[in-house]
Symmetry: C2
Subunit: 380 residues, 2 copies
């Protein structure tokens, strides 16, 4: 398989925009990415679109708005990993040698469709019995507290950190810096998680132009390579696992580190799936950023804060940048690209050389996700 | 890119089964394909699922029913080409060298969701104004009649032919042989197309196990190779085209013939997207089976009947086998595989060496589809 590079990225502001359609977000994000890449849109050979709730052939409808019809278009769904799965399908097609230049877009118009928590499918037995996402991540947090002495203040500090990051991100949904008291004093959703421990529903779009080695040389000397792109699904056996662990995330990260030939200590920044504060803290451990049980210490010592040893969710993360399902995974990639290029403005991670993105999607078997993607992007 | 082979296929009976769930069709079809391939399910490295209306992470839910969790699973949607697009994504991943053994499944539980014609999206301006599928294919048929003197009897003969074929297919939805009088005397849907000129809604599933050269040698000497797998989307410019032409289909077929290194004259059978009788007749021309305007003669002379020069829709086609959206494209591939192996029973195309499958999906711009897939499978 050939090396694959990211030539350009784009992202709309995330937030609640009930007056806009999914195709609006898609068109804007794609146009930004195409201009950022500096390519002629007519040279794009294929498009991949990730989304969850936008209905049939949304990718083709976005391409029509761009005047970019005639090419192969594939719509991809993998719950909250939809955008990153679309990215990976495009990556595989370019790596295979089928295309030299491809467009990836992730979109979601969520606020006009869903209010509050995402509804469980009627075939999701655990979900319909009450084990919806806030419950799952409240239980996991509770067990982490029991097992390792982690405190609700430590979980709250995750939201505080991400709010400080988001204040530097003009595309973020919530840009107000919050305090631990505000986080824990907010409306209770599922004990011990208040509203501010949960990521918001959002609308938005993100896009990336990817290409082969042959093409990247014609456009830039600043080569950003996809060093690994991994997708896995959860296992039934995980229902018997320790709930503080996402073995799905650990397996995906391990495969990505091996493929990229680097470890967590080589990363400059991480954009991970902080759907809840408890998720971010546990993913420090799942991604190998710290040993098991030491997630709380990571946040206490400021290691994952901008300026710390391994900044996590410098964009604001799902908690503060917002979580427009299909757009999230592609938005994470855009964030890493901006840092690797030194274009992240006041939230820049200095000298960033390698970034990891991580998404999880879908409840299956009640505990771990139906899909997990890990991408590692490096500056060659 | 490496060569890719089809090791096994499976298909449920198509029809209206409101008591069954999409995962039931998926599980049954996958299990058949896995047993047909003779592989251990634990050796399957990835799964691709095509569907339209089955909701989030349906592929993962099917894999869970098979006890096949932990692997990468990708859900793909491209309207009526969803199954064949999923097949192509799996094909690309195997051709790229990423996997040696992959599972493709297409499913749809349609009868409990949709009654009558598929509803247009609220962003489909032409559809909401009345240009829904029966209208499009009635208009196209009308123009073909004006332009080439094609008759409604010729269109009706397509349904008659496919009903004769379906009578030999135990998996088909409608197995009763009908006459031209019955077809044209049925309830009018959109003049000149009666109900029997339109394909029915159906539920069902189909699956295929595909593999690399390295793997195929371990299982069989009977090598069925994917000689071409093409996907394209429609162009805006087509709104100005002659409506009797699907330039989308013609372009996709041309690319497939070039890639496979053969022409329509080399095909032993064709499974094409006969969503309406008018569609099948016009696709004879679009796929190059006959010159423009001679579709009517093809059916009059029995050339596309089993035993004719180039049998089309020996399975019964969408018109009689049924059209469970996501399952259709994979079901077409199963049909071709059975013929290439000499396992098609009383409907066997003798000495079949090469088969073509063709799907179209989605209205965009009112006339041509949002996606079109053409696969060519050959017996090496």
């Amino acid at each position: 398989m050939r090396d694959v590079y990211i030539l350009g990225v784009g992202m709309t502001k995330f937030g609640k925009f009930p007056e806009k359609r999914a195709v609006d977000f898609g068109r804007e994000a794609c146009w930004d990415a195409i201009q950022d890449a500096g390519v002629d849109r007519k040279d794009i050979e294929a498009a991949y679109c990730g989304h969850v709730y936008q209905g049939s052939v949304i990718g083709q409808l976005i391409m029509r708005e761009l005047g970019l019809t005639g090419i192969p278009v594939v719509n991809v769904e993998n719950a909250c990993s939809s955008g990153s799965t679309a990215f990976r399908e495009a990556y595989i097609a370019v790596a295979a040698g089928l295309y030299d230049l491809a467009l990836v877009v992730g979109v979601e118009q969520l606020s006009t469709r869903v209010s509050g928590v995402l509804p469980p499918k009627d075939t999701d037995y655990e979900g319909t019995m009450g084990l919806i996402m806030p419950s799952v991540f409240a239980l996991r947090g509770r067990l982490h507290m029991e097992k390792y002495g982690t405190t609700i203040e430590q979980f709250a500090k995750i939201r505080v950190k991400n709010s400080i990051h988001a204040a530097q991100n003009p595309r973020a949904q919530f840009r107000k810096v919050v305090t631990v008291e505000e986080v824990n004093g907010a409306k209770m959703v599922c004990e011990p998680l208040t509203m501010l421990h949960c990521c918001p529903n959002a609308d938005g779009g993100a896009a990336a132009v990817i290409c082969s080695e042959k093409v990247v040389r014609n456009y830039t000397a600043r080569k950003l390579r996809v060093a690994a792109s991994v997708l896995l699904s959860g296992t039934m056996e995980q229902a018997g696992d320790d709930m503080t662990v996402s073995s799905l995330t650990s397996r995906a990260a391990q495969q990505a580190y091996e493929k990229a030939g680097l470890g967590p200590e080589d990363l400059s920044l991480v954009e991970l799936h902080d759907c809840f504060t408890t998720a971010e803290l546990m993913h420090y451990e799942n991604l190998g950023l710290c040993p098991r049980g030491e997630g709380g210490r990571m946040i206490d010592e400021g290691k994952t804060m901008l300026g710390g040893k391994i900044p996590v969710n410098v964009s604001g993360g799902l908690l503060c940048k917002g979580h427009p399902l299909g757009a999230t995974g592609v938005g994470q990639i855009a964030e890493v690209v901006w840092h690797l290029r030194g274009e992240a403005g006041s939230r820049q991670v200095e000298g960033a050389k390698a970034g990891l993105t991580h998404c999880m999607g879908g409840a299956i078997g009640g505990v771990d996700g139906a899909s997990c993607t890990v991408n590692i992007i490096v500056r060659d």
